[in-house]
């Protein structure tokens, strides 16, 4: 396999849809400030998500019988990239649209799908992902949270960490141990957890800027009915690995700092210096290439291929790009970053500087991704 040859993205006509989304966003976000737009996919707005659902833009590729719209992966891609480029607050429906819904479609029971998927597509049912734990970050197989079979279901004990928006979510996809701790991969399973279940406590974790997105979710003898099991008992590891290509190649992997690039262009004005023009031109060139790579992976996913390696390449390149934007911006425009600034550029710069460190950690650290790529090259 030629790892570096990405096939051309599907040649789908999406410009009508794109215009529709732009018109919708122009109206929805008319008053959204740049510093709010710069939150990118961590902006949460349940009402906005409901309206997105009403437009048919959640679960776009899913079967109609589950509330989906049976559209192509590239059409979904267009909606998503337009939302991210505009800085729309997608977080409420985001995790379900990207990961949880597709997982339910792939391994869920008919009952689970019918109960949940239409509510997701309506923008009325929000998900969070319960993967990481205090001692299991990059080393996912080290999870200790455990579901023990009991009469009629399972009892769960343990602690999940870094669970984004658990405090607003209806459900968690829980990844935990159901077998022996020695069986690193085989002894794990996934569950569909209603967060109103007794025995689940959600505690905020402030991030370095003092904001609350993360949570610690503690399970203390939480009882899950047998129907909460998602997929096969003991198959959790394989199911999770299958999600990764979906998680690592989307436009969210290179557009997280895009608002700052927009504000940089605004601050530089219509007659940038030669150097500023070259710097912005370079970033734009990177963006064009990343977008092509990412759309190519979307096309591969649509064809049913497993572009896990290509997705890792996109995420690694994308994170470099997202992280260098604030470095470049602050060299081109003289401004001390301040989240409280009344100057858009300064406020967006501040938000971006404080957030970029996470871009090469979330969804697989840079070192883990590069290890995966190296293995793909035949080095390990």
């Amino acid at each position: 396999m030629d790892l570096i040859a990405f096939p051309p993205p599907p040649d789908t006509d999406v410009e009508g849809l794109r215009a529709e989304v732009r018109a919708f966003l122009a109206e929805e976000l008319a008053t959204r400030r740049p510093q709010d737009r710069s939150r990118s996919w961590s902006g949460f707005d349940a009402d906005f998500s409901r309206r997105v659902g009403q437009r048919g833009w959640i679960g776009m590729t899913w079967p109609k019988r589950y509330g989906g719209h049976e559209r192509s992966a590239l059409e979904r891609y267009v909606v998503l990239e337009e939302m991210l480029a505009a800085g729309a607050p997608v977080a409420a429906h985001w995790f379900a649209d990207r990961q949880s819904g597709p997982l339910l479609l792939k391994v869920g029971t008919e009952e689970q799908r019918q109960a949940i998927l239409p509510r997701i597509t309506a923008g009325e049912c929000f998900f969070c992902i319960g993967m990481s734990e205090p001692d299991s970050g990059s080393d996912l197989a080290a999870v200790r949270t455990r579901a023990v079979p009991v009469d009629g279901g399972f009892v769960v004990n343990g602690t999940k960490l870094w669970t984004t928006y658990a405090h607003h979510a209806d459900y968690m996809i829980l990844f935990c141990r159901t077998g022996s701790a020695d069986d690193r991969h085989g002894g794990t399973s996934q569950f569909l957890v209603d967060l109103k279940t007794p025995g689940i406590a959600i505690r905020p974790i402030a991030d370095l800027a003092g904001e609350h997105h993360f949570n610690e979710v503690v399970f203390e003898d939480a009882f899950l009915p047998a129907t909460a099991l998602l997929g096969q008992l003991g198959d959790g590891w394989n199911q999770v690995v299958g999600e990764l290509a979906f998680e690592r190649s989307g436009p969210e992997r290179f557009l997280s700092s895009f608002t700052l690039l927009v504000e940089l262009v605004r601050a530089l004005g219509p007659s940038p210096s030669d150097h500023a023009a070259a710097a912005v031109g370079r970033l734009t060139a990177h963006l064009l290439v990343l977008r092509r790579l990412s759309r190519s992976v979307a096309g591969m996913l649509q064809m049913g291929e497993n572009p896990a390696l290509q997705a890792s390449l996109v995420k690694d390149l994308g994170a470099i790009f997202e992280q260098e934007i604030p470095d470049i911006a602050r060299q081109l425009v003289d401004a001390e970053p301040s989240q409280q600034s009344t100057r858009d550029f300064s406020a967006v710069l501040a938000h971006t500087i404080l957030n970029v460190p996470s871009f090469s950690l979330r969804g697989g650290t840079r070192e883990i991704l590069r290890g995966i790529i190296a293995r793909g090259l035949g080095l390990r």
């Binding site: 970050g137 080393d139 402030a206 370095l208 602050r330 003289d334 301040s338 996470s358 290890g371």
Partner: protein, 360 residues
């Protein structure tokens, strides 16, 4: 280092260790003024460390006094210690009385201009100074030009130092990334004659350079701490059955971090010596630029190694990285100082570059 200095450094280290824990830093971030801590710092006399002996200081060599600022950087001390040290030095230099209490400096942004004019036997101070450190709580030592009418001072255009008590300016609060106050102060303030004096040798441009020097030194301190924290974390945190510090990828990162910290430390030393020798611009410019660059590279590595843990407010790493990300742009960012050096090089010409380097 002299014995006196070593004792001072050791004592200050103990003080900072005792007084500044995460609890104080969180309180300061939320906008609280740490009065008890300030008193402890002041009781030890640290704000006077840069004041000459004849003006009431304790006659410490300048380089050793500035080492206190490195220490304060290494403890993320959320107080205007560096600013007060500099302000007291400027007051003493101008023959003005040292008021005690926290002080700050203005202007700190290169485009801000403050002016003084004779009015009613005293002085009228006018103008706006942006992003003044701790402007909301500290008395401000201002450097201003005397403009017409200067009256019998007869020194139009000369640089004056003036002491403005806290609360005498229209204050628009703002902060840096570490939530240290960086406030806009609008002055239209009458000052008594005894609060104003000519400031020979220190004009606003020199103040800007002094500020750049102390921020460089503080960055060197913070970078040393970031290196120590990150090394310790890499030895503690286990993944895949062993400490992450055993992985070659992490080791290579930490070696780069150490290189940046060493470069910043040397740059800070260069800046301190330049201040001691009268404030030569080129080495201070080089130091500020080099420390600022080290700050960016080092903070990125530190967060990468700390992983999600370092991204929480609970972990202390951010107290240091947020300061580094702020300080690198205060008193002139990399670009401003780089241009200054580059223009000096252009003036010296290709064949003058090396002599410029060896003379700096």
């Amino acid at each position: 280092m002299s014995d006196t200095s070593q004792i001072l450094v050791d004592t200050a280290t103990r003080l900072f260790e005792e007084q500044f824990t995460a609890r104080q830093r969180v309180a300061a971030e939320s906008g609280q003024w740490l009065d008890a801590q300030w008193q402890a710092v002041e009781d030890m006399g640290l704000p006077l460390a840069l004041v000459p002996e004849e003006a009431g200081g304790f006659g410490l060599p300048v380089v050793e006094a500035l080492d206190l600022i490195r220490l304060a950087g290494a403890f993320a001390v959320p107080l205007p210690l560096a600013e007060t040290m500099l302000a007291n030095r400027i007051l003493a230099n101008a023959g003005l009385e040292l008021p005690g209490g926290p002080l700050t400096l203005a202007p700190v942004r290169p485009d801000d201009r403050l002016t003084l004019a004779r009015r009613d036997g005293g002085w009228l101070l006018s103008g706006t100074a942006h992003r003044v450190p701790w402007g909301r709580v500290a008395a401000t030592v201002v450097l201003a030009r005397c403009e017409d009418p200067c009256g019998d001072a007869g020194q139009d255009g000369q640089s004056f130092a003036a002491l403005v008590p806290a609360g005498q300016a229209d204050t628009a609060p703002d902060v840096n990334l570490a939530k240290e106050p960086r406030d806009s102060l609008r002055f239209e303030t009458l000052l008594p004659a005894e609060s104003v004096a000519p400031s020979p040798g220190i004009a606003p441009a020199e103040l800007h350079a002094l500020g750049a020097a102390v921020r460089s030194i503080a960055m060197a301190g913070a970078l040393g701490r970031v290196l120590a924290m990150t090394t310790a974390y890499a030895n503690e945190r286990s993944q895949f059955g062993r400490p992450i510090g055993k992985f070659q990828a992490i080791q290579q990162h930490l070696a780069v971090l150490a290189g940046q910290a060493a470069a910043a430390r040397a740059a800070g030393d260069i800046a301190a010596e330049a201040v001691a020798q009268g404030g030569s611009l080129l080495p201070i410019a080089a130091a500020k630029l080099r420390c600022g660059e080290a700050a960016g590279v080092a903070a990125a590595i530190a967060h990468q190694v700390h992983g999600a843990m370092g991204f929480t407010h609970e972990h202390s790493l951010h107290f240091f990285t947020k300061r580094l990300w702020s300080w690198r742009d205060e008193f002139g960012g990399d670009g401003e100082w780089g241009r200054l050096i580059g223009r000096e090089v252009a003036r010296a010409g290709a064949d003058g570059l090396w002599p410029l380097v060896t003379a700096a």
